[in-house]
């Protein structure tokens, strides 16, 4: 490669990434995805450890101990906007703070001491112990340390094998978390959990209180949530998971494997649901009522949907008037979220011109393209240079995505909707749909953009 002839501007697209970008209707080939990130490309992805921690962190009364140098714990402290109705233990970040001598001589002893200190000070019902790049690299046996500590304290000390270098794809971390959860809820030998009519809600993290919103609907139609994985859950409640009649699965990236394992181990069937957007919420509630097959429940569900829709549709129509024809881009973590956002934006009369995810799978991308108009750009594991290029080319008015994309959008004078782990406002259910529409409206139609355009960034 003749690097000296590279222009100062460079080129947005790296040739090896060509197969990770396609245009709907133009190409018969399928997208390249679920690969490792390309070296040197500024990926928006995090790491295996991060994937594991976001799934487990909402377990409210557990302590979360990161076995590694300080940074891994610093960057994931209080990482999600998950709310708790009780314990706030999960909002702390414990680290073994590995130093040079631990790297040289091994960190197992320090890990054991740290577990003892946490037990001594807080006595939590469980500790999740996460491995990181360094502890994995030097070969610390966290499984053995956790096993010994579990016996010593008669408590669940659960290892999470999440060394960052295992993959750049968070999905691998979701699996590590899933394995840890299965270990936690497995009944002790001889114990059984009594079956109930309640349901588990998998892939629900109670961001901005979203689990509580769905819980209210379910209660109204006559069903109780047994436990959510993992929003506002406790260790004791999770251990009751085998007693559920049904598992709902919301976030596909992180929880399908758990649902399948629960079906295998305890015979609990599962349903895919989606509570983002009014249409999705109504559809999901109907599916659940149908599953239980109770006539009264089905009637109550229809009544609920009717009065909620009657309440929110006039408000949504108001926003639709303002937003119809605006051009939107979506770049989020997983395909589940992308699909939910596409549906809602289309309901608001908007045109989707660009979409993509950090961790989508092939089937999910195939499904995505069926929802989109021809000419839409689909992109896997996008880098900022690519996002910038397409945001400008496609003349986008508003983008939905994570924190890192927000500032790029603003620099380009484009509106931005926060649809990330860290958000403080719930977007689920009927009221969530209104809140979502309002956020899209305020950021797309703010008077600020016209003043910025007068200065001329986008020329």
């Amino acid at each position: 490669m003749d690097t000296s002839s590279v222009t100062a501007e460079g080129s947005a697209c790296i040739s090896e990434r060509q197969n990770s970008i396609l245009t709907t209707g133009k190409s018969k080939s399928s997208i390249h995805c679920a690969d490792d990130s390309l070296a040197g490309s500024v990926s928006q992805r995090a790491c295996v450890f991060c994937g594991a921690r976001v799934v487990l962190n909402p377990v409210t009364d557990a302590a979360h101990l990161v076995h590694g140098p300080i940074g891994c714990a610093t960057y994931t402290w209080d990482i999600r906007g998950s709310l708790s109705s009780g314990s706030e233990m999960y909002r702390n970040s414990f680290s073994t703070d590995m130093k040079e001598r631990d790297v040289v001589f091994g960190g197992e002893k320090k890990l054991a001491t740290c577990i003892d200190e946490i037990m001594g000070k807080y006595n939590p019902p469980a500790i999740f112990v996460y491995s990181t790049c360094v502890s994995g690299m030097i070969g610390d046996d966290i499984i053995a340390v956790c096993k010994a500590a579990s016996e010593r304290h008669a408590t669940d000390i659960i290892p999470v094998e999440s060394s960052g270098f295992l993959s750049g794809n968070k999905v691998v971390g979701y699996r590590a978390a899933a394995i840890a959860l299965m270990q936690l809820i497995k009944p002790r030998e001889g114990d059984t959990v009594k079956k109930t009519w309640k349901l588990n809600f998998l892939g629900e993290y109670n961001l901005g209180g979203e689990k509580w919103v769905v819980e209210r609907y379910l209660r109204e139609i006559g069903i109780e949530i047994n436990v959510a994985f993992t929003g506002d859950s406790t260790v004791a409640a999770l251990k009751q998971a085998p007693g559920a009649y049904l598992n709902l699965v919301q976030c596909t990236g992180s929880m399908h494997w758990v649902a399948m394992s629960l079906e295998q181990e305890f015979g609990t069937p599962y349903l895919d649901v989606n509570f983002f957007g009014a249409a999705n919420t109504a559809e999901s509630l109907r599916k659940i009522a149908q599953f239980y097959g109770d006539a009264g429940m089905i009637r109550r569900t229809e009544a609920l949907i009717e009065h909620e829709q009657a309440r929110i549709q006039p408000v949504l129509q108001k926003y639709r008037k303002k937003l119809a024809g605006k051009r939107a881009a979506i770049y989020v973590g997983g395909a589940f979220k992308a699909v939910a956002i596409i549906r809602q934006l289309k309901e608001l009369g908007m045109e989707i011109v660009l979409t993509g995810t950090q961790t989508g799978k092939k089937e999910e991308y195939d499904n995505l393209s069926t929802l989109l108009d021809p000419g839409t750009i689909i992109i896997d594991d996008a880098n900022p240079a690519e996002l910038e290029k397409f945001l400008l080319e496609k003349n986008v008015d508003v983008m939905a995505g994570g924190v890192k994309e927000r500032v790029l959008a603003y620099k380009l004078g484009i509106g931005f909707v926060d649809h990330n782990h860290d958000r403080k406002d719930g977007l689920a259910g009927f009221d969530g749909a209104v809140r979502f529409a309002r956020e899209v409206y305020v950021t797309t139609c703010t008077p600020v953009w016209s003043q910025l355009k007068a200065t001329g960034r986008r020329g």
């Binding site: 790297v103 360094v134 960034r457």
Partner: protein, 459 residues
């Protein structure tokens, strides 16, 4: 107060007060003209650092990664590193590439000097400077990373040069607003100077003009090369260890006299800078700065009684901790707890001198965490805190307001615009500090007086 908290020696770190070492290096390279940064390690590291920087600076902060996975962790990261460099050069077209090592690559024992030399040779690169910096997080925090990267830039560029009349100005991690204020002060004295690093325009871009992947601004490499011929260095690095001190290196290797000063935050610290500038420039205090000094003194008089009620906790990076402790002390609000997540060889000694006449000695914590800071603050009846967003629990758990300074500030807007340097910045900080005390006072004094006197309604 009689009780003085003795920090318990514990292994576990509970709620981190520091960031990791490569993060400091990343910020330095963002302050070099036409530079891009590459983090040699697993994908997560670069994403975390991007997120932290984006949330603080509210700017796109692109950081590439060599995205190592399990195979490379075992067999070596050379191929990935080279590919990463290819892609960074192609997309960003930088003149300078800083490579930060990580815990993973340090544990693997990657020899960066050799890997970079091979790369340059294989690709025949002559016009791009590739500068590796060892930033192993298990032996330092972002503070050491910042100094190490700055020093490495001097080592790389500063070769014996002709003597000239310019001054070197070397800064620790402060806000772009502070950098601009310090530059204004040097300009007012008519001095010619090179500031290293200078991210005042790269990490705080005014809106307007075309969006560029590498924002314009930053110290030019030609200017860094000329630092060895300067007539003096002013380094705001009282706490900088000798082995990482760029100013000391310039003094020892190139005979540039070093004036190692505290940050010009606080009246007395700013006076020290002014005295040095008067000597170097042969000019006396410019009128405008004299007026600003007068306004500061006037403000100090106006608020001294309110400030006397302050019992502050000051925490963060050593250099900032010293500067903000100085403001507190000179305004009669002696800190009750002074803490840093970083281990400093100098801080405690400097504080002992600063606090020699204090009525009450503060608890000083180094290499500490927020659990220890919280305990010490509670025992010492702290009622206000000064530091970064990590101290949010002080407010949530204890109702102690946190005056946000330093890095990161992710739960308030405008981290990049926080001004505390110079007489003007000092007064801006002091007003924020005093007003936080007043807010608490006005909220509570009626009830407190009633409680004290046992006054009940109708009684």
């Amino acid at each position: 107060m009689e009780t003085v908290a003795t920090p318990k020696v514990k292994q576990v770190n509970e709620n981190q007060c520091q960031q990791c070492m490569p993060l400091g290096g990343v910020v330095v390279f963002k302050g070099v003209e036409n530079a891009m940064v590459l983090v040699h390690g697993s994908q997560g590291c670069s994403t975390y650092m991007r997120l932290t920087n984006v949330e603080h600076y509210n700017e796109p902060v692109d950081i590439a990664s060599s995205a190592l996975n399990e195979k490379q962790a075992i067999y070596g990261g050379e191929v990935n590193l080279h590919k990463a460099l290819d892609n960074v050069i192609r997309v960003y077209g930088p003149k300078v590439i800083g490579i930060m090592t990580t815990c993973l690559t340090e544990t693997m024992g990657e020899d960066l000097e050799r890997l970079v030399a091979t790369y340059r040779q294989n690709r025949g690169i002559t016009t791009i400077d590739i500068i590796p910096v060892a930033t192993l997080s298990y032996s330092g925090s972002q503070t050491e990373g910042f100094w190490a990267a700055t020093r490495q830039l001097v080592v790389y560029y500063a070769k014996p040069a002709e003597r000239h009349n310019g001054i070197n100005v070397i800064i620790p991690h402060i806000s772009p607003a502070d950098i601009r204020e310090i530059k204004r002060i040097f300009d007012l004295f008519g001095l010619e100077y090179t500031m290293l690093p200078d991210y005042s325009m790269t990490l705080d871009r005014p809106y307007g003009g075309r969006y560029q992947k590498i924002p314009p601004g930053g110290t030019s490499t030609q200017d860094i090369a000329r630092m060895s011929g300067a007539r003096a260095t002013i380094q705001f690095g009282l706490t900088c260890p000798d082995n990482l001190s760029p100013g000391l290196l310039l003094e020892q290797e190139h005979s540039v006299p070093l004036h190692n000063l505290p940050l010009p935050i606080g009246l007395q610290n700013m006076d020290r800078l002014i005295a040095t500038l008067e000597k170097l420039s042969g000019r006396s205090l410019p009128d405008i700065l004299e007026r600003e000094r007068g306004w500061l003194l006037d403000g100090m008089a106006d608020s001294h009684k309110f400030n006397a009620d302050g019992r502050p906790i000051v925490y963060g990076e050593p250099e900032l901790v010293y500067a903000f402790s100085s403001i507190c002390v000179e305004n009669g609000a002696t800190p009750v707890v002074i803490a840093s997540g970083t281990k400093s060889t100098r801080l405690t000694g400097l504080l002992a001198t600063l606090l020699a006449d204090a009525d009450e000695q503060p608890v000083i914590l180094e290499e500490t965490d927020f659990a220890a800071i919280d305990d010490a603050g509670f025992l010492a009846e702290a009622n206000i805190a000064v530091g970064h967003s990590g101290g949010k629990f002080l407010t949530e758990h204890r109702g102690i307001p946190v005056i946000r300074v330093g890095f990161p500030i992710h739960d308030r807007t405008g981290g990049q615009r926080v001004l505390s340097a110079g007489y003007t910045g000092t007064l801006a900080f002091l007003d924020r500090f005093t007003n936080a005390l007043l807010e608490t006072k006005y909220e509570s004094y009626r009830e407190l007086r009633k409680e004290e006197m046992g006054i009940r309604e109708g009684a």
